[in-house]
């Protein structure tokens, strides 16, 4: 039969371009390539443009700079003025070096506290015969769900005293003990409040790693006659190390960028961190100088990341070794069992429940500092507007602005969560499909960048970027859409990570089995890839939802009177000194988060840890 002769049917004579296009174009037109390019454009807008704006602003004259005397200010011209101001002038000490030192002090303290509490709890829960382990691990995660400043507010409410010209706190009221000033405001309370807020990171990551180690690895050490301590040091610790350093890094990155807690516990004692210093620069129109500090913060996060990578490097894959999940024989606590149980429970009650109770209680106190029953009042919840209380603001449940903000917060969290989750899944899909190619790498790396940019700076750049119309995007200043866009941009690292890891879990065969049958791409994605990665999507969206509900720094500069969110309104009341209203709104916020979380959990079982990036 020889050579097939049907060639003529498909031969027309091709121009070189047509041949090139048919060879390369197939790949260029493949759905995941097209999707990847679209995502790249979105990321360029959400991540790259802000970065460029950030750097450019620090090196050019800004409109607000025209008030500076003795300088030849031409708006938009290049200048090193701002960098000189920050790095080498009489302002440097107060603007940079002191806040930098304070930030590093606080971050170091927080990291130590987070690691110690997190790993101890993780070890107790996964490896010992501690009773009520399930209950304890649920309770242990609670502080993460609360807004970061909850503990700070509660701290002040416990320790403030008449000596510092404040209303009497819980401690002074009931015991008469007056604590020194440094225990009320300053580095020590900031470290404790942040440590207690961020330790769930370490707890979730480390207990995840501990329970996924194949027990045979440790048992073989035991069989060879190694002591328990040696096994812990030489086998368990190195295997858990990646989780541990991830937790340390997360805690470090979060604590240097957070704003609420240092504002509440630091500013009254004039203890500034870089984050609060940035806020003060941005609030007074000195954006360039604020952004320089932001670049310094980002550099610190970046160095942390690099260290993490150097330390773990190729061993990262260790964490996934041995998914057998064989049962570990738990360490018997023996006579220590009861004392340790009591200590753990007391600790968790103090950390997770007491602040809530205290804040709730404080929200029904008519006058601050009086914890007696006769002082009970629902004025700040349902009271009518009265000049005597809260500068005439009505109770939060009657307060139109508060209720509007509540509605905004919920819609923002739900819509933002869903959209960010979807973008994250799409990124995960392209990253996995194009693995090893430039598109995959650039998407994965770009989507991680917002993690490095402190929230407050992120918000401020978006304000600058989107407040005027450019290209095809109209001015978004003061719109709800801007809040959504900034949420997607900032929270993308979490959903992109969970997107990549859940897409990786779906074997390529499953999609190819549909390709073979000629199922078109859209249908494959909707009917196969999406259902199989739904859990990762929900976990990612849930994390965004919770984070958004209690996120303050990101929105504080963006929320306008027409578009307030609960957190921004809370901070306004904090600044005005209306404590009880603040407390009431915080309780309202926490209840909303708990209800939303419970609703999602009831609808779909999810694992919070997988959303944080534990797996």
């Amino acid at each position: 039969m020889g050579k097939p002769e049907v060639e003529a049917k498909s031969t027309v004579s091709y121009s070189p371009f047509a041949i090139w296009f048919r060879k390369r174009g197939k790949r260029l037109l493949s759905p995941h390539f097209v999707l990847g390019v679209i995502l790249l454009v979105i990321l360029a807008y959400l991540v790259v443009a802000p970065l460029i704006t950030l750097v450019r602003t620090t090196a050019t004259w800004q409109p607000t700079d025209t008030r500076i005397r003795n300088e030849n200010v031409v708006v938009g011209q290049f200048t090193t003025y701002h960098w000189q101001r920050i790095l080498g002038s009489n302002l440097s000490k107060a603007a940079l070096w002191d806040p930098l030192l304070n930030t590093l002090t606080v971050a170091a303290g927080t990291v130590v506290l987070v690691t110690v509490i997190g790993s101890l709890l993780a070890w107790l829960v996964t490896r010992t015969d501690l009773p009520m382990r399930k209950f304890i691990s649920n309770l242990a995660v609670l502080p993460y769900i609360l807004p970061s400043w909850t503990i700070a507010l509660a701290w002040v409410q416990v320790f403030q005293n008449s000596k510092s010209y404040m209303p009497r706190g819980f401690l002074e009221y009931f015991t008469g003990i007056t604590v020194p000033e440094w225990l009320v405001f300053g580095p020590v309370p900031i470290i404790i409040a942040m440590g207690l807020h961020y330790y769930p990171f370490a707890f979730l990551l480390i207990s995840g790693a501990l329970s996924s180690i194949d027990s045979q690895l440790e048992e073989s050490g035991e069989v060879l006659g190694a002591s328990r301590l040696k096994i812990l040091r030489r086998i368990t610790f190195p295997i858990v190390l990646p989780a541990l350093t991830s937790a340390v890094l997360l805690a470090f990155a979060r604590s240097i960028g957070t704003f609420g807690t240092p504002a509440i516990l630091g500013l009254p004692a004039r203890y500034t961190l870089i984050s609060t210093q940035i806020y003060s620069f941005l609030g007074t129109g000195r954006d360039s100088q604020g952004y320089i500090l932001a670049i310094i913060l980002m550099f610190m996060s970046f160095v942390g990341l690099g260290l993490n990578y150097r330390l773990i490097g190729s061993r990262k894959s260790f964490t996934t070794i041995g998914g057998k999940g064989s049962k570990h024989s738990p360490v018997k606590l023996g006579k220590w069992k009861i004392p340790i149980t009591i200590i753990v429970l007391v600790f968790l009650v103090v950390v997770a429940i007491f602040p809530l109770v205290l804040i709730g209680w404080s929200s029904v106190m008519l006058n601050m500092g009086d914890f007696s029953l006769s002082n009970f009042s629902l004025q700040y919840w349902i009271g009518e507007s009265s000049r005597a209380y809260a500068d005439g603001a009505p109770g939060v449940l009657r307060h139109a602005e508060v209720l509007g903000a509540l509605k905004n917060s919920v819609s923002l969290a739900v819509i933002g969560g869903i959209l960010t989750g979807l973008v994250g899944m799409a990124i995960g899909y392209v990253v996995v499909k194009e693995r090893g190619k430039w598109l995959s790498q650039s998407l994965e790396q770009l989507s991680f960048v917002p993690m490095l940019i402190p929230s407050i700076v992120f918000g401020s750049i978006y304000l600058a970027l989107f407040s005027k119309a450019n290209w095809f995007i109209p001015s978004l200043y003061g719109t709800f859409a801007l809040l959504i866009v900034v949420t997607i941009g900032k929270q993308l690292p979490y959903t992109a990570r969970s997107g990549v890891s859940s897409m990786l879990q779906v074997s390529g065969d499953l999609e190819e089995a549909a390709i073979i049958q000629g199922v078109p791409w859209g249908k494959r994605f909707l009917r196969i890839m999406f259902p199989l990665t739904k859990n990762g999507f929900i976990a990612g969206a849930l994390i965004v939802l919770i984070t958004t509900m209690r996120e303050l720094s990101l929105y504080i500069l963006l929320a306008t009177p027409a578009n307030r969110v609960l957190t921004s309104i809370t901070y306004r009341f904090i600044e005005e000194g209306n404590k009880q209203i603040t407390y009431a709104i915080t309780i309202l916020l926490i209840l909303t988060v708990l209800i939303l979380t419970a609703a999602v959990n009831k609808w779909q079982k999810t694992d919070l840890a997988s959303g944080i990036g534990g797996k």
Partner: protein, 364 residues
Amino acid sequence: MSEKKKIVLKGITKRFPGVTVIDNMDLDIMDRDFTTLLGPSGCGKTTTLRIIAGLEQPDEGEIWIDDRLVFSAKRGINLPAVERKVGLIFQSYALWPHMTVFQNVSFGLEGTMSKAEISKRVKESLANVQMEEYVQRYPSELSGGQQQRVAVARMLAAQPEILLMDEPLSNLDAKLRMQMRAELKRMHNDMNVTVVYVTHDQEEALTLSTKTAVMNEGIIEQYDRPEQVYKNPATLFVADFMGNPQMNLLPVGVEPKDGATKLTFDTGESILLNRQVRAGRHILGIRPEDLTVSSQPVEHGLKGRVYAVLPAGSSVIIYASVGDTDLIIREARETVVHIDQDLWITCDQDYLNLYDQETKKLVG
């Protein structure tokens, strides 16, 4: 089986970063053949299958199916799997875990025919593999063998003319594997299909196929009927790869003598081969079952000493030291030999292969 070419691969080359997985491969697969691609892991057999399926795009070459050009690197032609009329079974089965058995089979048919037709077709395919009772089950509720059947039903439902199978039996236990082999063979016989089957299991290749392509490092070492591949391996690689226990390979000196050929072993003994082979130093290959032992001296017998005796049920495997090499001999199960006993070994000339030491190819 047939004289019509079903699949033609011409000059197929596939490179992954840093490696050439398939190197300028030509392969003609005849209509209604059951062709196995056999080779060690990493030899390129799965890639070849995926290239035929259209899941992987070669860097060079052409593919013709039914005299129709379905892929050409030069002309940028690349038809999708549906238009190549291929079906594929994955090693992992790749059943969609969130769909029932029915949905797994019907999913690919959606949109191509009416609901009633789909339902009828799905039920037929499932009945074909005796899985009609399980339509509402999810894959996780099925045993490995049952999942396998569903994968087969899913492939058959689209009525492909070419069935591609990627080690479909490797996840099953030995007993089930044997049974599924029989069913696959029956299926191939009953249906008008061409099968391309990837495996690293030589027994599977020998039992199932009408043609076997033995692959190594991206090239086809031998493409022939399986009994031929077994009897006359074309290269040293094939000789060594096929057969269990493996073929004996020993160096011999080859010189012509009186119209025949004299083979001289390193121990000094020699035998006469009654056909002509080019002179030189070659490698002699002979299968264990083509060697015979005797406890009495035999003319032209190699003298050896028993190193170990391994009874294997249907036969006895004897390791014997001859000089400083070991020979493996498979004898009838009644054979009685003892460790350290002296033996005289003779071979069946018809089954003796000689390979060039340099080119590693069969010379006689």
